[in-house]
């Protein structure tokens, strides 16, 4: 398969691993931002190819993981309404809220539909004018343009029965939050390639300069990830701190201007709560006032309740790199993918779930 096989080539990967081992003279701690990268690292065992002093911290870039419990509860309340067709990406189905999950809401009669594209939800709204269609709009800057497109199309078609439950998040404020923590350990970042494909590098140039931290825009195949690590290590060893684009086959320096214009037309920046990390200023997107009629929270009056996380969950420490998933006392016992206690176990791309699946597989 072109654009895949050449980035999974065993010999090229062995050569890069040797280059990393040769360049790293000191212990370094890097964070891969995106859950897709975490998944690839753990699935292919790439961290086992790295020198002993090099630590990878698994970042907060899993949209399923960081969606707050209160928003999940809103989603479940909306999906249970008799007048609502609730559209979601598939991996939100089994994420538990305070009392239930979308699988169970569906089993009890809720009209929950899986969509692969937000535009399918718009088509559903047009096809069934007597029902309310709500789209669960979660994700990073990768999903925001398509969700914005759904709103733009619904507006253009004059649909009055379409709305968004919006929990969109932005990556740069979360990176800043981690860097400003007094006990921050992260010395270099592998930035999320697909987020940068939309946003470009400008936001990251500012972070690299301000915090003097190397940021390498990195893809998702094994060779991409090792390449990102190698470039990050080379910068650290040389005392440099800049943005490098190691994913130029997908990421243009100025991103995708068309997608950004659409996002900016529909959404505005707001504060957002991240599961595991808490409130982060300017880290979310909300519908602009001109599109407020598409806001499901407003339309149905589902206020966010005071949902409390299980006290034992330490996903905040995992997300900040202070705790390895397998070092958590609840890991694999009181906290499993079937009974997740918090953010990093709820999705396959969460660090704890990836470790559970590939490192500490239970037999039942």
């Amino acid at each position: 398969m072109r654009f895949v096989d050449e980035y999974r080539d065993g010999a090229a990967i062995a050569a890069l691993a040797a280059r990393i081992a040769a360049r790293a003279t000191r212990p370094w701690t890097l964070m891969e931002v995106c859950g897709g990268q975490t998944h690839a690292i753990v699935r292919h065992g790439l961290d086992a190819l790295l020198p002993a002093g090099l630590t990878l911290v698994h970042g907060p870039g899993c949209p399923v993981c960081v969606t707050p419990l209160a928003v999940l509860d809103q989603a479940h309340a909306l999906a249970a309404r008799a007048d609502v067709t609730f559209c979601t990406f598939a991996d939100m189905l089994r994420v538990p809220g305070s009392t239930t999950d979308l699988y169970t809401v569906k089993a009890r009669g809720g009209d929950v539909r899986l969509v692969n594209s937000p535009l399918e939800a718009v088509a559903l709204a047009a096809a069934q004018p007597d029902r309310e269609v709500v789209l669960f709009a979660i994700g990073f800057e990768t999903t925001a343009p398509a969700n914005a497109m759904a709103v733009a199309q619904a507006a253009a078609r004059g649909l009055t029965n379409f709305s968004l439950l919006c929990a969109q998040v932005r990556v740069p404020p979360a990176m800043t939050r981690l860097l400003e923590a007094p006990d921050n350990r992260v010395q270099g970042f592998l930035a999320a390639g697909h987020v940068c494909a939309v946003m470009g590098r400008a936001e990251y140039d500012a972070i690299a300069a301000r915090y003097h931290v190397p940021i390498v825009i990195t893809g998702f195949e094994p060779l991409d990830i090792l390449d990102g690590i190698a470039r990050c290590i080379e910068q650290l060893e040389d005392g440099r701190a800049m943005v490098e684009n190691a994913y130029p086959r997908v990421v243009a320096d100025d991103g995708n201007a068309h997608a950004r214009r659409l996002m900016e037309e529909i959404f505005e920046v707001r504060a957002q709560t991240w599961r595991g990390l808490g409130d982060i200023a300017a880290s979310g997107l909300a519908l602009k006032p001109a599109y407020a009629r598409f806001d499901a929270v407003r339309r149905f009056g589902v206020a966010a309740g005071a949902a409390a996380e299980p006290g034992e969950c330490r996903s905040g420490d995992v997300l900040a790199g202070r705790l390895a998933p397998t070092r958590c006392p609840a890991f694999g016992t009181r906290c499993t993918p079937e009974h997740p206690l918090g953010a990093t176990m709820v999705s396959g791309e969460g660090a704890c779930a990836a470790y559970y699946r590939y490192r500490a597989a239970a037999t039942t």
């Binding site: 699988y103 094994p222 037999t363 039942t364």
Partner: protein
Amino acid sequence: MNDTVACPLPRDDTDCVTLAHGGGGALMQRLVREVFAAAFGNDARHDGARVDSGGRPLVTTTDAFVVKPLFFPGGDIGALAVHGTVNDLAMCGARPLALTASFVIEEGFAVADLRRIAASMARAARAAGVAIVSGDTKVVERGHGDGVYITTSGIGALDHGLDIHPRAIAPGDAVLLSGDIGRHGTAVMVARENLHTATPISSDQGNLWPAVAALLAAGIEVHCLRDLTRGGLATAMVELARDGGWGIGMEETAVAVEPTVAALCELFGLDPLYVANEGRFVAVVPDGQATAALAVLRETAAAASLLGHVSAVPDGRVRLRTRYGTTRHVALLSGAQLPRIC
């Protein structure tokens, strides 16, 4: 893992069956163990069961078939219903003798489609040398079924003295894979989602008994067989390791996936190891006979491979050596595999 010791949470806090229970993963296995195996008091470790008839032992099995769409590239629910049960018999090393079939049909279902399905079943049964000897038909109200559901049961004869069962798996055994994986699941997905691929994908659904019969005829002392169905190769391997009690090592490079299947899995974020198959199996055989057994399997499918070996570690876990030489565990999925957001 002993749930009651390791997990102080309620063992299952859902009070109704969800679609996740149908995925062939950990949730379904728990449901079967805690509801059916608990009530019937039987051993749920194999695809069929041996029944003592006073003379030669017989094997029985049963399987229900629900698939959307009913017709897909490479097959349909009728052929699937025949082959699925024939294959479960074959996995016990049993020569299929006879099948029964029952149909739950939704009000409004086209008789022409029913004829097409029946003809397909007849064709598959004839080719497999097995008769469909009795059946039952029920009709449910519109909206209470998905067109048609078919359940087939089968009986088969054991013509050999082997104990083909997870308990026969022994350290050092070779594990063979009978061909490329992931075709049925992706073919059905392509049909269901109306996708178009440059190279068509055809389901691998088919009769596994000829390949098993050839192994037995070649004198292979088969220890265990398992067909790859809903949960894919990974789930079959986890079950064999768990039920046999030994660790199993498998090589990522030994797993063949057709390029179009691999590409679709990439697009949807699916792992081919967990994608459904309906015409592939793994065979656990003595290591000394691995080469001979592989030659037999390659007469049916050129992509058949030596997947790995049973280890002497009695932990019932599956370890996969990646193409980069690193090792990871292979686990059951919780429920069905789902496309990812990004």
